[in-house]
C-alpha cells in the first residue's frame, strides 16, 4: 500500500543534458601490436554518444618517441553483442584510432602519455604506467568442468606496478569480469548479479585471462556510478571522461563446460 502510494507521488520531468564532453577509452596492452583507441563525444543524452572522426591521437613513449594513431574503419573493433539486460542501445562504432607500436612494442614499467585533439579543438590528455610484468606466453592447461559440481581456481603472483588484477572470462554467450588479489575460486554456478545469467554456459568453451592492471584502469572499472549521489567513477583524464590505462596479461586458460 505504501509502495503504491509512493509511486503516485513520483513526478517525471524532461531535462536537457548539458555535458558536451569527449569520451575516450584507451588501454595499452603489450601483448598487442596494435592499440585501439575509441574516441566519442556526447552531450549527455545517450543517443548523442557518437564517434569522433578526424581526431588527432598521439602517444608519447618513455624514450621520447611520438606514436600517431591512424584513423581507420573497423566495424569489429568495438563489438556490441546482443544484451537483453542492457537498458539502452549502444552507439555503433566504426571508426577506430589504431596506434601501431611496432616490433619494439610497449615496455612494461614504462610511462606513456596520451593526447587526443578533436576537430573542434577539444583536447583530452592522460598518462599511464604499464605494470612491470612478464607477458604470459604459455597458457595454463585447459580445464573441463561440470558447472553443477566444479569450481575454477586460478592463482598468480604479484606484479610490480600493478594496482590490481582482473579475471576476464569470455565465450560466445558473453563476458564476465571481476577484480581479485592473487587468486580466485569461481563456482561453476556463478551468475551475473544484474540478471542471473550464468557465467559458465554448458557446452561452451570459455577463454579466461588474468590481467595485471594499472591504477587508472582499476579506478575506472572497479566501480559504477551511484544511483543517488552521481559519484563513483574515478577518472584520470584531463579534458574529458573515460580511461587511459594499461594491462598486462599474466595468465590464460581455456575452460570447457560439459
Amino acid at each position: 500500500m505504501l509502495a503504491a502510494a509512493t509511486t503516485a507521488c513520483v513526478q517525471t520531468t524532461s531535462v536537457s543534458p548539458d555535458a558536451n564532453t569527449l569520451v575516450v577509452h584507451a588501454v595499452l596492452d603489450p601483448g598487442a601490436q596494435h592499440q585501439f583507441i575509441v574516441v566519442q563525444t556526447t552531450t549527455g543524452a545517450l543517443v548523442t554518444q557518437r564517434q569522433v572522426t578526424h581526431a588527432v591521437v598521439t602517444i608519447a613513449t618513455p624514450d621520447g618517441r611520438m606514436l600517431t594513431a591512424v584513423e581507420r574503419q573497423d566495424t569489429a573493433a568495438v563489438s556490441v553483442p546482443r544484451c537483453e539486460r542492457c537498458s539502452f542501445p549502444f552507439p555503433k562504432v566504426t571508426t577506430i584510432y589504431d596506434v601501431d607500436v611496432g616490433a619494439a612494442g610497449l615496455v612494461p614499467g614504462g610511462t606513456y602519455q596520451l593526447r587526443v585533439v578533436a576537430p573542434d579543438g577539444r583536447t583530452v590528455t592522460g598518462r599511464t604506467t604499464i605494470p612491470n610484468a612478464v607477458l604470459s606466453t604459455a597458457p595454463l592447461p585447459t580445464q573441463t568442468i561440470d558447472r553443477d559440481r566444479d569450481t575454477v581456481s586460478v592463482q598468480w603472483s604479484r606484479v610490480a606496478g600493478a594496482r590490481s588484477y582482473q579475471v576476464f572470462i569470455r565465450s560466445t554467450a558473453g563476458s564476465y569480469s571481476l577484480f581479485a588479489d592473487t587468486s580466485v575460486v569461481l563456482p561453476g554456478t556463478l551468475q551475473v548479479l544484474d540478471n542471473g545469467e550464468d557465467v559458465f554456459e554448458r557446452r561452451l568453451s570459455h577463454q579466461l585471462a588474468v590481467i595485471a592492471v594499472d591504477q587508472n584502469y582499476f579506478d575506472y572499472y572497479h566501480r559504477t556510478s551511484d544511483f543517488f549521489t552521481a559519484t563513483g567513477l574515478v577518472m584520470h583524464l584531463d579534458g574529458g571522461i573515460g580511461v587511459f590505462g594499461s594491462v598486462v596479461t599474466i595468465a590464460t586458460r581455456t575452460i570447457v563446460v560439459e
Binding site: Q11, V15, P17, F88, S175, D181, D194
Partner: protein, 785 residues
C-alpha cells in the same frame, strides 16, 4: 474556603495567567464515588500504600488511571503517611480513601480535571451531596517541580532538550511511536529523508551522534533499513538530547548525545502493556519491589507479517525484526545500588534453502551494561554528599549479508567494551565531578563483489580489521558564585593508541539569571571522534551504517553558542540559541577509496556550521502540550584541495510545529513541518562504457547501466518541503485494562516532497523524483493492564 482559594491564587499567579480561558472558567464539584461521570475516574485500579505520603499516593492513582491531578505541594496534609491495603476499586474510590485519611478534598470539573485541596475550615469530610455551590478554582499546577525547571534553576543546560515518554508519543506517528522520529522534530535536528530514523544535528553528519541507552552506547539503532528505531516505545522513559555544549563526561562524537533512559516501574503491582501497529507488536511488563526501592522492566517487539503470511505461503515474507529490552535496579549491601540494562535486537532476511541467488542477511545490536552507585550522606569530605558510580558495558553491532552465487559478501562488526567511573562531590555552591573511561573497540569490515554491477556504492567495497583502545579522563566543576550566576567548566582528555596521540578537550558554559525566569546562556567546547561510518551522507536511503575506526588522527571540532531562555509560566518556556561549529579536521568517506588499500577510507575536510535554534514549548501536564521549533543553519565543507561545497544536510530553514491536545478520552496530535530544500548533485548526462577484452585485444560494450556525468557537488537543491501529520487516540477501558486505539495520518495533504532524483538519459532524457513519504494512514492499538 474563599480565603484558601485566594491564598492559592496569590501563591501561583503566573500559572493562573498562563492557563487558557477554558480552564479558568471550569466549574468544579466534589468528587463522588461514581466518578462524577468521568470515565477515567471509573477505571478499576489496584493500589495499596504502606507508609507512603498522601502526595505519593495521589501520584500513584493518577499514574494508574491516567489522570491529571492538580494540587499544591505545600499543603501540609499531603505529608500525611497512609497505610491502605492493596485492593481493587475505582480510581474515584481510591482518591476518596486518600482524601479521607489525609483530610483533603477532591474536586472534579466537567473536563475531567481533578484538583486536590485542603478541607475548608469546619468541614470534616467532603460528601457526595455537597450543598455548597461549586467554586471556580484556577487550574493550579503546583505539582512536583519539573525536571526541565530544575535544570534551568540549577544547571547551565546549554543545548539540552528533554522529552517525557508522553511527549515522545504525543506527535503523530508513522506506523508506531518512535523515539528517534520524535527527536527529529526538535530544534537543530533534521533528517536526510522521511525514510531515515537517523538524524543530523546542527549541520553535522549522521555518524556524529552518540546514542546511549541508560548510559551505554548503541550503534545504528535502526530497523527496516532506517525506517524505525530499535527503542521499544513502552520501554522508553525520558529522552535527553544534547545538541551542543556537550558536558565533559561525554566524548567520542562531534555533534550530539542522545540519551534514552529505560522506563521505570512505578507500582508494586505487576503492570503490563501490549501494542499492535501495522508493522509490529510489542509487550512489556514491569513492577517495583522492596517497597519501591527496586524495579524491573522487560519489553519485547516483533514484526508479525511474516509469521502470519508464512503460515499460508511459506517463505513469502522472508524478513522480520525483533527487539528485547530489559532494565533492573535494586539496592544491595551497604547502600549500594545496582542497575543493569540489556538489549538485543536483530533484523533478518532469510534465504530459502538452495536459492543462492537471493539476498540474505542479518544485522542488529546487543548491549549489556551494569552500574554500581552509592551516595554518601551529608558531611562527607565537607560536602553535602558524595556520589560514586562504576559502570561496565559491552555493545556489539553486527551486520552480514550476501548473495553467494554472484560472490557478493558484506560484513561489519564493532564490539565495544568499556568501563568507566565517576566521583561527584556536592557542596552548597560547587559540584565537582571527576571520571574516567577505558574503551576497546574491535572493528572489522569486509565487502566485496562483482564490480561494475551497481552494489559497490551503497555498500562500499573495502576490507578492514582494526582495534582501537582509548583512555579518557575528565573533570567538571559546576560553581554558583552568586544566586544569579552558574559557571560550569570542564576538561576531557582522550588518549588514543597506535600513535594517534592524545587530545585535550576543554568545555565551558555559563548561565546568568537576569530574573528568576530569564537567563542568558553561553557555552563553548572542543570535541573529538575516531569512530566513523563508511556510509555516504548523500545517500537518500541509508539502510546501514558501517562503523570503522580511523587509523589517523581523529576528527576534531569546536563549537560556541549563546542564547536566552525564559520561562513564561511553570509549564511554558522560550529558548533561543545561536551557534557556531568549526570542524578543524573532519573525516568523511573517500569516494575514491580502494578495496585493498587500508587507510584510504576517509579524507580530511574542514567545515563550519552556524545558525540559530528557536524553541517555544508548552510542557506536558495539561490538556495541551507541544512545541514550535525553528532552526536556521548554514553548513559548508572545504575539501583538502580547497574546494568549497555545501554538505547534503545543509537545510537552511527547518520549522516544526508539534501539538497534542487531550479532550476527555481523546488525544489529538498534529505536526506541521516546513523546510527549505536540501542540496543534491545534479547529473549533467550519462554515457556508455566499453570494456577492453584481453582475449581478443578489442573492445566490447560494457553491459552495465550507463555511467553518470555529475555536475558540481551539491550545487542544486530539492524544492521546499512541507508536510502535515495528524493523529487521534481514544483512551478507554475494557474490563479494567486501558484500551487505546489510534489513527495517524502522515502527509495529510499528500504533498509531493522529492527527496532526490533519478535520471534517465536513454531516449528522451528525463528525471524522476524519489519521493518522501506520501499520504500514509496507519493505525494501531495499545493496551495497558
Amino acid at each position: 474556603m474563599i480565603l484558601r482559594a485566594l491564598l492559592l491564587l496569590l501563591a501561583v499567579p503566573a500559572i493562573a495567567r498562563a492557563q487558557v480561558s477554558r480552564t479558568d472558567s471550569a466549574m468544579f464539584a466534589d468528587l463522588r464515588a461514581d466518578g462524577n461521570g468521568v470515565a477515567a475516574l471509573r477505571t478499576t485500579i489496584r493500589v495499596g500504600f504502606t507508609g507512603q505520603r498522601a502526595s505519593d499516593a495521589l501520584k500513584s492513582v493518577a499514574d494508574q488511571a491516567q489522570l491529571n491531578i492538580t494540587f499544591d505541594p505545600q499543603l501540609p496534609e499531603l505529608r500525611t503517611t497512609l497505610t491502605i491495603g492493596a485492593h481493587e476499586r475505582s480510581a474515584a474510590s481510591a482518591l476518596l480513601e486518600i482524601a479521607r485519611e489525609s483530610r483533603l478534598r477532591v474536586r472534579v470539573s466537567r473536563e475531567a480535571q481533578v484538583v486536590v485541596a485542603a478541607l475548608p475550615v469546619g468541614v470534616q469530610q467532603a460528601t457526595a451531596r455537597d450543598t455548597m455551590p461549586p467554586v471556580t478554582l484556577p487550574a493550579v499546577r503546583t505539582g512536583a517541580e519539573r525536571v526541565e525547571r530544575r535544570e534551568f534553576d540549577f544547571k547551565t543546560g546549554v543545548g539540552k532538550v528533554s522529552l517525557t515518554p508522553r511527549e515522545t508519543r504525543s506527535a503523530p506517528v508513522f506506523v508506531e511511536p518512535d523515539v528517534l522520529r520524535s527527536v527529529q522534530m526538535l530544534p537543530g535536528i533534521a533528517a536526510r529523508s522521511d525514510y531515515s530514523a537517523g538524524f543530523n544535528v546542527r549541520g553535522g553528519e549522521a555518524d556524529q551522534n552518540l546514542i546511549l541507552i541508560d548510559g551505554y552506547p548503541i550503534f545504528t539503532p535502526f530497523h527496516m533499513y532506517g525506517l524505525f528505531s530499535t527503542f521499544i516505545d513502552p520501554a522508553v522513559g525520558r529522552v535527553n538530547v544534547y545538541t551542543g555544549a556537550l558536558p565533559a563526561r561525554f566524548g567520542e562524537r562531534l555533534s550530539s548525545v542522545l540519551s534514552v533512559e529505560s522506563a521505570n516501574a512505578t507500582t508494586s503491582a505487576l503492570r503490563g502493556t501490549a501494542e499492535v501497529s501495522l508493522v509490529s507488536s510489542n509487550a512489556s511488563l514491569s513492577r517495583t519491589f522492596h517497597d519501591g526501592e527496586g524495579s524491573w522492566m522487560i519489553a519485547a517487539r516483533r514484526t508479525y507479517a511474516d509469521a502470519v503470511v508464512n503460515l499460508v505461503k511459506p517463505g513469502a515474507i522472508p524478513y522480520h525484526f525483533t527487539d528485547v529490552q530489559g532494565h533492573f535496579e535494586t539496592p544491595i549491601v551497604g547502600g549500594v545500588r545496582f542497575a543493569a540494562t540489556a538489549y538485543d535486537g536483530v533484523d533478518k532476511i532469510t534465504r530459502p534453502n538452495g536459492e543462492d541467488d537471493v539476498f540474505a542477511g542479518a544485522w542488529g545490536n546487543r548491549v549489556i551494561g551494569a552500574t554500581l552507585a552509592k551516595t554518601f550522606a551529608r558531611g562527607f569530605l565537607g560536602g553535602d554528599s558524595l556520589a560514586l558510580a562504576q559502570r561496565v558495558s559491552t555493545t556489539r553491532y553486527d551486520i552480514h549479508a550476501d548473495i553467494p552465487i554472484v560472490l557478493f559478501h558484506a560484513a561489519n562488526r564493532i564490539t565495544d567494551v568499556r568501563t568507566g567511573g565517576s566521583v561527584t562531590l556536592y557542596r552548597p555552591r560547587w559540584t565537582h565531578e571527576i571520571g574516567y573511561e577505558l574503551a576497546s573497540d574491535r572493528t572489522s569490515y569486509y565487502a566485496n563483489g562483482p564490480s561494475g554491477q551497481g552494489l559497490g556504492e551503497l555498500i562500499p567495497y573495502d576490507s578492514l580489521a582494526q582495534q582501537s583502545r582509548t583512555a579518557s579522563v575528565y573533570g567538571d566543576a559546576l560553581w554558583r558564585p552568586a544566586s544569579s550566576l552558574i559557571v560550569e567548566g570542564g576538561v576531557r582528555v582522550d588518549a588514543l593508541d597506535d600513535g594517534r596521540g592524545s587530545i585535550v578537550l576543554p568545555r565551558l558554559s555559563l548561565k546568568y539569571f537576569l530574573t528568576p525566569d530569564i537567563a542568558f546562556i553561553a557555552a563553548t567546547g572542543r570535541y573529538a571522534q575516531w569512530l566513523h561510518s563508511l556510509g555516504r551522507e548523500e545517500e537518500l536511503v541509508q539502510p546501514f551504517q558501517f562503523w570503522v575506526s580511523s587509523v589517523s588522527a581523529p576528527s576534531v571540532s569546536r563549537d560556541a553558542s549563546v542564547g536566552v531562555e525564559r520561562w513564561l509560566s511553570p509549564s511554558r518556556v522560550f529558548h533561543v540559541e545561536a551557534f557556531h561549529k568549526h570542524y578543524e579536521r573532519l573525516l568523511v568517506p573517500n569516494s575514491a577509496h580502494a578495496f585493498d588499500e587500508p587507510g584510504d577510507e576517509f579524507v580530511s575536510q574542514r567545515g563550519t556550521s552556524y545558525g540559530a535554534d528557536v524553541l517555544l514549548r508548552q510542557l506536558d501536564g495539561g490538556p495541551f502540550s507541544g512545541w514550535l521549533a525553528y532552526t536556521y543553519a548554514v553548513s559548508t565543507r572545504i575539501s583538502a584541495e580547497g574546494v568549497r561545497s555545501f554538505p547534503t544536510q545543509d537545510r537552511r530553514h527547518n520549522l516544526n510545529l508539534v501539538g497534542s491536545w487531550r479532550a476527555g478520552a481523546y488525544a489529538f496530535g498534529a505536526r506541521v513541518h516546513f523546510a527549505s530544500g536540501a542540496p543534491y548533485t545534479p547529473v549533467l548526462g550519462a554515457f556508455g562504457r566499453v570494456l577492453y577484452d584481453p582475449t581478443t585485444k578489442r573492445w566490447i560494450r560494457d553491459p552495465a547501466d550507463p555511467q553518470t556525468i555529475p555536475g558540481e557537488l551539491n550545487s542544486a537543491r530539492v524544492p521546499f518541503y512541507d508536510r502535515v501529520d495528524v493523529s487521534v487516540r481514544r483512551n478507554g477501558h475494557i474490563r479494567g485494562a486501558t484500551f487505546a486505539p489510534y489513527l495517524s495520518i502522515v502527509n495529510l495533504l499528500n504533498a509531493k516532497n522529492p527527496a532526490g532524483y533519478i535520471y534517465d538519459f536513454a531516449g528522451q532524457p528525463k528525471r524522476t523524483s524519489f519521493p518522501n513519504l506520501p499520504f500514509a494512514p496507519t493505525f494501531g492499538v495499545s493496551i495497558g493492564y
